[in-house]
Amino acid sequence: MSTKTVSPNTLRRDGDSGQSGDKIFSTASLLAGCLILAVLFSVAIFLLGQALPTFAADPSEISGGNGFFSYIWPIVIGTVIAATIALILATPIGIGVALFISHYAPRRLAQGFGYLIDLLAAIPSVVYGAWGYAVLAPQLAITYDWLANNLGWIPIFEGPASNTGRTILTAGIVLAVMVLPIITSLSREIFLQTPKLHEEASLALGATRWEMIKMSVLPFARPGIISAAMLGLGRALGETMAVALVLSGGALNASLIQTGNQTIAAEIALNFPEAFGLRLSELIAAGLVLFVITLAVNVIARWIISRHKEFSGAN
């Protein structure tokens, strides 16, 4: 009878070498992921729960006396106007500054300039608000007067212009300065990541630097620019302190250079300290609306980005 020696399988794992570390890490990251969802979910629940009395209340009990919708829509429009002004002003400037830093400026200058832009993001919003209130608004009041006199036939510049300059346009401009560093630094990072290969492809065809940017850099960076603009928009929509200080709010007004208009965030901040009962619930409902707007903006942005996935160069 021959004895069969069974050789031990050397591939079998002995003990749990390295296994426990793996497990701890995967559990930790799973927990972190769950935590985010839990926080988001509980914020949503809080908003819904607290806002519920507003939706259930009799329309005559709501501020303005005509129900929640007629209370909220002017300030929704105001919010969107302020954020749109900010984005229209900040996006082209942000892209321009980012291109200057990434493709035009001499390297040493570019770095210092980049830091300077990042520094703008570090200024607290209350400082921006104070600056807008004390410095920018009086300066702009003069311009607004001119606009009202010369371009007054355009509804958005209809006079008489505000004497203090504390209008929705001023708020939008302050917001633009605040979102500029976000858009600039994100765009710059993406412009710098443009593959050398694609830049050289256009240069070798006889493209000038601007044509190279149009052919290679901007198409490559397009999804990133949209993300940057959306992040900026998120900040502009939610910004509270600066708007609360700069804007002398009021009823919805088509003219951007008259007093009037209000944003959701500023409305909440200005009224929250004295609110109780149904008024409190109203303000929280306004917060819920802002939450939904921000969500919708993000969804639309993702949709825009994914529409051209095939041509994105990711494949």
Binding site: P195, L197, E200, A201, G206, S216, E310, S312, G313
Partner: protein, 259 residues
């Protein structure tokens, strides 16, 4: 189309570093000239000086002359953008514009400098260029699809189509087959053989058989040691370089003793 290039006493620098030293050679019109040599010998750098693409790297500069049918590329009044529109380039890795369709890729160079082109002219040019790059039959049904969906070899031929669409005088190729499989390589080599009927072609290659197969003349570059400048060691008819080189180091390289 197709002009000759004369290089006279060319030194190429990156900052203070002398990368290529004292090159003199003539690239004949309507012929294929191959540059071979070990890695780092400056052959790619030299190729890029022929359409001023090396200037993309900060600090790069040259001394000496590069003449395109007698006109100096490095004259102060010469715009590098204009040089590159006459001397096209194909790169090591295929680089079609990922956001453009196959058709737009071919037309990319033509539409530069805000030139307008009618749709029928554009269609004709796309077909002519893609036929010239032996790609038409493979892509004619999907011209609106992204160029990045093609195989590596097809992408490289698309890049060649893009380069010839602007009717350049010279086409430079920087190791155009090094990222491709043998069959795609063969397709490109066949194409190079056809291109020399109309264009002046200069090609850098690591593959000595390829140089022997496609080129009329071969230039062998070498460096004495790392950090030393690359030099043109020997230049002559391809058959002579491979069969009876004059220099010992050329013989060592082409017979596979080093590099």
């Amino acid at each position: 189309m197709s002009k000759r290039i004369d290089v006279k006493d060319l030194n190429v620098y990156y900052g203070k570093f002398l990368a290529v030293e004292d090159v003199n050679l003539t690239i004949e019109a309507r012929s294929v000239t191959a540059f071979i040599g070990p890695s780092g010998c400056g052959k790619s750098t030299f190729l890029r000086t022929l359409n001023r693409m090396h200037e993309v790297i900060p600090g790069a500069r040259v001394e000496g002359e590069v003449l395109l049918d007698g006109d100096d590329l490095y004259d102060d009044a010469v715009d590098p953008v204009h040089v590159r529109s006459q001397i096209g380039m194909v790169f090591q890795r295929p680089n079609p514009f990922p956001t453009m369709s196959i058709r737009d890729n071919v037309l990319a160079g033509v539409k530069l400098n805000s030139k307008r082109i009618s749709k029928s002219d554009a269609d004709a040019l796309v077909e002519k260029s893609l036929r010239g790059a032996n790609l038409w039959n493979e892509v004619k049904d999907r011209l609106a699809r992204p160029g990045s969906g093609l195989s590596g070899g097809q992408q490289q031929r698309l890049c060649i189509a893009r380069a010839i669409a602007v009717s350049p005088e010279v086409i430079l190729m920087d190791e155009p087959c090094s990222a491709l499989d043998p069959i795609s390589t063969l397709a490109i080599e066949d194409l190079i053989n056809e291109l020399k009927n109309d264009y002046t072609v200069a090609i850098v290659t690591h593959n000595m058989q390829q140089a022997a197969r496609v080129s009329d003349k071969t230039a062998f570059f070498n460096i004495a040691a790392t950090g030393k400048p690359g030099k043109l060691i020997e230049y002559g008819n391809t058959a002579d370089i491979f069969n009876m080189p004059k220099e010992k180091s050329t013989e060592d390289y082409v017979s596979g003793r080093f590099g």
